[in-house]
Symmetry: C2
Subunit: 193 residues, 2 copies
Amino acid sequence: MRERILAAATRHFAAGGYHGSSLARIAADCGLSQPGLLHHFPSKRRLLEELLAERDRRDVRAVGGWSEPGGAGVLDFTRRLVAHNAGQPDVVRAFAVLSGEAVGTDHPARDYFVERYRTGVAALAAGLRRGVAAGELRADLDCAAVAAEVLAVMDGMQTQWLLAPDRFDMAAAFAAYTDRLRAAITAPDPAEG
Amino acid sequence: MRERILAAATRHFAAGGYHGSSLARIAADCGLSQPGLLHHFPSKRRLLEELLAERDRRDVRAVGGWSEPGGAGVLDFTRRLVAHNAGQPDVVRAFAVLSGEAVGTDHPARDYFVERYRTGVAALAAGLRRGVAAGELRADLDCAAVAAEVLAVMDGMQTQWLLAPDRFDMAAAFAAYTDRLRAAITAPDPAEG
C-alpha cells in the first residue's frame, strides 16, 4: 500500500504540484480514506519528503551515486542518469514540478533542493578535480563552474523535454552536449604540443 | 491599481506558485475585495496571463528582443538578459515557479511556456546560423542544439541562483559559460590553419 500511495502522489504532484494536490484526492485514488492514508504517511509534508527520498534511493540503485567516477567519467555518469530519466517521464515530471515550486519562498522541499544542488555540484566538481590531478583534464579547468554548468544543462534540457517530449530528444541532446564539453576540457595531448 | 495588482500577484506567485495562491488574498493585499479585483482582471487565469505578457514586454524594453543580433552577438544578448534578471530576483522567482509548475500536466500557462521555448530556441538558432553564414562561427555548428543548450544553461543556473543567491553568482557564471562557448563555436582563424 505504501508503494501504491507513493505512485498516486507522484501522479498528483506531476499534475498540480504540491500546492495543487490534496491528500484527500490522493487517498481516494488508492481506495483509502484520508485517515487511512495518514496511517501510512502522517502528513502531506511527510509524504512529499518520503517521495523525494524514495526517488533518490531508486536512482542510486539504477545508475549509482554521484561520487563514484573520477575525471571525465563523471560525464558518463550524468549521461546514464539523463538516459535513465528519459525512460521515466512521470517520475521526472513530478520531481521537476516540485523543484520548480521549491524555488518559491514558501515550500516545504526548499531546503531539500538547496542541499541537493550543493551536494550535486560538490560531488561533480570533486570528480572533475580528480581528472585534473590525473592529468586527464586541463590544468586550468574551473571545476566548480563546469559542475554548476552541467547540472544546469541537465535541468534546463529536462524542462524543454517535459514541455515538448515529441520535439526534443533529451538523452541525445545531453549526450551531444557532454561530447562537446569533454573535447573542451580534456588536456591537450602532449605529443601535439 | 492594475500595476499594484500585478505586483501583488508577482509576490504571491513567487511564494506559492499559481496553485498555492488565492485571488482573495491577492485582492486583500491591494486593499480590494475579490469582486473589486475581478473588475481589473476577470479571472485568476487572466491575471496569470497578463502577468506573463507584462514581464515579456518589460524584458524587451530593458534588453531588446531575441531576434535582433546575429552571430556571437546572440550570446551578448543572452548575457544582458541574465544580468538584467540578476537585478530582479522577485520577478524571476515568480516566473521560475510558474514555469516549474507549468511542466505539470495541469497548468493554465503550459501552452505559453511551450511556445516560449519554441520561439526562443528558434530565434537563438537563427542568430547563430547568420553567424555561420557570415563565416564568423564554425561551419559544422549544430545551431539548434547549441540554442537549446544555451536556454537550458540560463534556466538551470537561474534555479541554482534562486535557491542559493548568496553562494551562486548567476551573471558571472553565465558570462563564464558564454566565454567558453564562444571560444568553442568561433570559426578558426584561416591564418592559423
